[in-house]
């Protein structure tokens, strides 16, 4: 597709970066993602309305100059709430996803690679898959909320709790998928060859196994973000999440669903924001996968 001329030899990482920035999807995804982050985190510097300020006379308004995205049923500014909510949702989404991936990836690789650990780790996975989610979460709140609030302050404490709650209950599919891939990879010729020249287990995993299981991990990552953002809103209904006046995208979407017929624009914004974030991460992941795949690099896409 591009010219087949061999580029001069470069370091591996600069080559990957070169590959990545020529990937149209990745570029669009990356720009979009940065844009969302910029709006959400820098936006409040320009749009200074308080997300929790109630202007009761201005409730249920459509888009106006004073409130470009309209207001909610208590007269709170939707734009300000979208930005404040985005900060939390993106932070929770990314961290919880990263935690779930790290846990699941680690478990999966270890279980798939070391036969001896396969049994115990997979039974542990079975156990976690079987535990009923809601009671588990309720127990976590009961045991840890006050300690965490006391140590890290109420908001950071709850943030940790939510991230750990989501991460600890969503790593299992990733672990099983990664393990299955590792089981198959382990028997491939190149791995056998690498082993015969005496590559250590650590080297084997980092150099040969991990790059080859990147695509399912990327898919897990994209799906994981969407999941974490939505799960967060479900948690706040249990009283496990942030204080009730604290906006997040999932909560905004949920609150707005009741008003779907009367004020459809109110569901539109959080729905759009979540979708765009997930899409941008998806394209980023696609680009990263392509860039890291040695074969696509050779093909010179």
């Amino acid at each position: 597709m591009t010219d087949p001329a061999m580029p001069p030899p470069r370091s591996q990482w600069s080559e990957i970066w070169g590959q990545f920035k020529r990937h149209r999807g990745a570029l669009i995804g990356g720009i979009l993602f940065l844009l969302i982050i910029a709006i959400v985190f820098l936006g409040p510097l320009i749009w200074t309305l308080d997300a929790t300020y109630i202007d009761i006379r201005a409730r249920n308004q459509g888009p106006t100059w004073a409130h470009p995205f309209g207001t909610d049923q208590l007269g709170r500014d939707t734009l300000a709430r979208m930005m404040a909510g985005g900060q939390t949702s993106i932070a929770v989404g990314l961290t919880a996803m990263a935690l779930a991936l790290a846990l699941g990836g680690f478990m999966g690789v270890i279980a798939g690679y070391f036969r001896r650990l396969d049994g115990p780790l997979m039974r542990l996975t079975d156990l976690f898959l079987s535990l009923p989610l809601l009671p588990l979460l309720l127990v976590m709140v009961m045991l840890f909320r006050e300690t965490l609030s006391a140590t890290f302050g109420p908001e950071t404490g709850i943030f940790f709790l939510i991230v750990v709650a989501i991460g600890a209950t969503s790593w299992m599919p990733t672990a099983r998928i990664v393990r299955a891939d590792v089981l198959a990879l382990k028997e491939r010729e190149f791995v056998l060859a690498a082993r015969s020249i005496g590559t250590t287990n650590f080297g084997m995993i980092t150099r040969h196994i991990l790059p080859n299981i990147l695509s399912p991990i990327m898919v897990s990552a994209t799906l994981g973000i969407a999941n974490a953002i939505i799960t967060e809103s479900a948690l706040s209904f249990l009283g496990l999440g942030f204080p009730p006046d604290f906006p997040t995208w999932g909560r905004l979407l949920n609150d707005a669903t009741q008003y779907l017929q009367d004020y459809p624009e109110r569901v539109f914004w959080p729905g759009l924001a979540i979708s765009l974030t997930v899409l941008s991460v998806n394209y980023l992941g696609d680009g990263l996968r392509d860039a890291l795949d040695p074969r696509t690099r050779i093909r010179g896409r």
């Binding site: 079975d126 079987s130 127990v139 009961m142 099983r176 198959a184 695509s215 399912p216 898919v219 969407a226």
Partner: protein, 335 residues
């Protein structure tokens, strides 16, 4: 292979017993009270008497032992009585729900039809749509089809059912008036008309659920196909002059199925776990609704039984998945 299978099955027994214990202890520890739904007008001492009548006064290990006995001994006897007409279970106490004061199993059996019709069907539909989308998207990576498919599935996955479900109800039930918004669990399909009614009430919940399944499985399918399409053996196969269809649909597909099988096997037990939000929105009242109302009402025998049955399915399907890996890729060995 056979020894591995047997070993796994034997090992499943202690695993499941351990899981049942962990679930029991978790439910014990979880805050909540079966009297939470009783109005505040009922005085506390009356509530305490009701708790004792439920058996909550007994120590934890005795209640766990009772549950084990009732679930593993009495319930199979009831089943045998039902099928073979024996009278083994006469006079034995079964696992009783605290909400209904009736045998837990009877209610679970009652919830099966709508759960299988709606949740099961949506899973089948989801997989049937997802596989071709995933395969073709990977084969024609970055084509218009791939881009559109990616867009729709990702948006579909980002939009939770609590929103998409209400949206389709507003469109198809309120504005167009084509489909019922409330699922009738008492409907029995006996004629063409009732079949049409059943079909109509199933469309919306099945589609809302299938969207989630499709998104998930098609992404894994696509990613896995992409990995394999770049492999050397594909080039070799093509060079040998094999037809494109054979190469893609036989060789590549077979090797790409491993993660997909994993995801599908993880999803099957969830069918029986029901779809909590979708069931609630469409009033399907399947196993998902049963489980969530039981959790809310702190109906521990019901929650314990349903989650344990799910655990059995989870363990079973993970064994099946492990065995299928070896079938798909003979190089994978467990022995």
């Amino acid at each position: 292979m056979l020894t591995y299978t047997i070993r796994r099955l034997v090992l499943a027994v202690p695993t499941l017993l351990f899981i049942s214990l962990v679930i029991f202890l978790l439910l014990e520890l979880a805050p909540g009270d079966p009297m939470a739904n009783v109005p505040l007008t009922v005085p506390p001492d009356v509530k305490e008497k009701m708790r004792i009548a439920l058996g909550l006064g007994e120590p934890t290990h005795i209640r766990f032992g009772k549950w084990l006995w009732q679930f593993f001994v009495v319930e199979p006897m009831v089943l045998s009585d039902h099928i073979l007409g024996t009278t083994l279970a006469e006079g034995q106490q079964r696992v009783l729900s605290w909400q209904f004061r009736s045998p837990v199993m009877d209610v679970i059996v009652q919830r099966m039809p709508q759960t299988l019709w709606v949740v099961g069907m949506s899973y089948v539909v989801g997989i049937l749509i997802a596989l071709p989308i995933g395969i073709y998207s990977a084969y024609r990576q970055y084509s218009v089809f791939d881009q559109v498919g990616t867009f729709i599935t990702m948006v579909g996955y980002s939009v939770p059912p609590f929103f998409s479900g209400v949206l389709v109800i507003v469109i198809f039930s309120v504005h167009l008036g084509w489909l019922p918004s409330i699922y009738d669990t008492t409907l029995r399909v006996t004629s063409w008309d009732t079949f049409v009614m059943q079909f109509k009430q199933m469309i919306m919940p099945v589609m809302v659920l299938a969207l989630q399944t499709t998104a998930q499985i098609s992404r894994y399918m696509r990613a896995s196909m992409l990995d394999n399409l770049g492999q050397d053996y594909v080039r070799t196969a093509r060079a040998k002059g094999l037809g494109e269809t054979t190469v893609v649909m036989v060789h590549v597909l077979r090797n790409s199925m491993i993660p997909v099988i994993t995801v599908i096997a993880l999803g099957v037990p969830q069918i029986f776990g029901g779809a909590i939000i979708t069931e609630q929105i469409f009033k399907v009242n399947g196993l998902g609704q049963l489980l969530i109302t039981a959790i809310q009402a702190n109906d521990l025998p019901m929650v314990q039984t349903v989650t344990f049955m799910l655990a059995v399915l989870i363990v079973a399907f993970n064994i099946i998945a492990d065995l299928l890996y070896a079938v798909l890729d003979p190089r994978i060995r467990y022995d």
